[in-house]
């Protein structure tokens, strides 16, 4: 069966520091991968998605970036964090052409920028 992992689970970082969040998927090949941010009490905002290695689409201009160095690995990065980057970050995967194209989510990373 497919599983998705995210780490770290919790992160506290100072303003201006770099960021690297990792997401990996097991049990499937060539998944579509997504990064979402969820602000407190809010819905999900799509940040990036990827349909293959090295292919990244950005949905929201910001100081974050994403990379997909391997088929089942998706990384969210920042060179300098802002206070507004605080939130809950969710990674998700889906299979293009699947019956419903639903997305399956990882456990998330809670990021606090101080």
């Amino acid at each position: 069966s497919q599983t998705i992992h995210q780490w770290p689970a919790t992160l506290v970082q100072p303003v201006g520091s770099p960021l690297s969040l990792e997401c990996t998927v097991e049990g499937t090949s060539n998944p579509n991968l997504y990064w979402y941010r969820q602000a407190a009490g809010r819905g999900l905002q799509l940040l990036f998605y990827s349909v293959g290695i090295g292919q990244i689409s950005s949905e929201v201009p910001q100081n974050l970036s994403a990379s997909r160095p391997q088929d089942r690995q998706f990384i969210l990065s920042s060179k300098k964090l802002l206070l507004s980057d605080s939130g809950f970050y969710l990674c998700a995967w889906s299979v293009l052409g699947g019956s419903y194209n639903e997305q399956f989510f990882g456990p998330g990373t809670r990021l606090t920028v101080l």
Partner: protein, 116 residues
Amino acid sequence: AQTVTQSQPEMSVQEAETVTLSCTYDTSESDYYLFWYKQPPSRQMILVIRQEAYKQQNATENRFSVNFQKAAKSFSLKISDSQLGDAAMYFCAYRSVLYNNNDMRFGAGTRLTVKP
């Protein structure tokens, strides 16, 4: 662009009772997918139920069922025999069937409290 609206920020239900969560959406597409996700305190997003727009029959998954009104662009979730474990944030989501559309639109969520 498609939008999803959940007009109830918070709802509460007595254990064993039934509750309905509302969701409306705006789209010009004729076929699409609709989902309800549950996010318990653990923050893990769990798919509860899904519906494809061309299917007129309402989806059902055990105690969870939907009332899909395509003309009204409404997709409500009914939880029967509510249990304490149903307490969570519930998100309604819309997804296009277009091959190159990777965008899933989420509503702002409804926080459900279940009272013992």
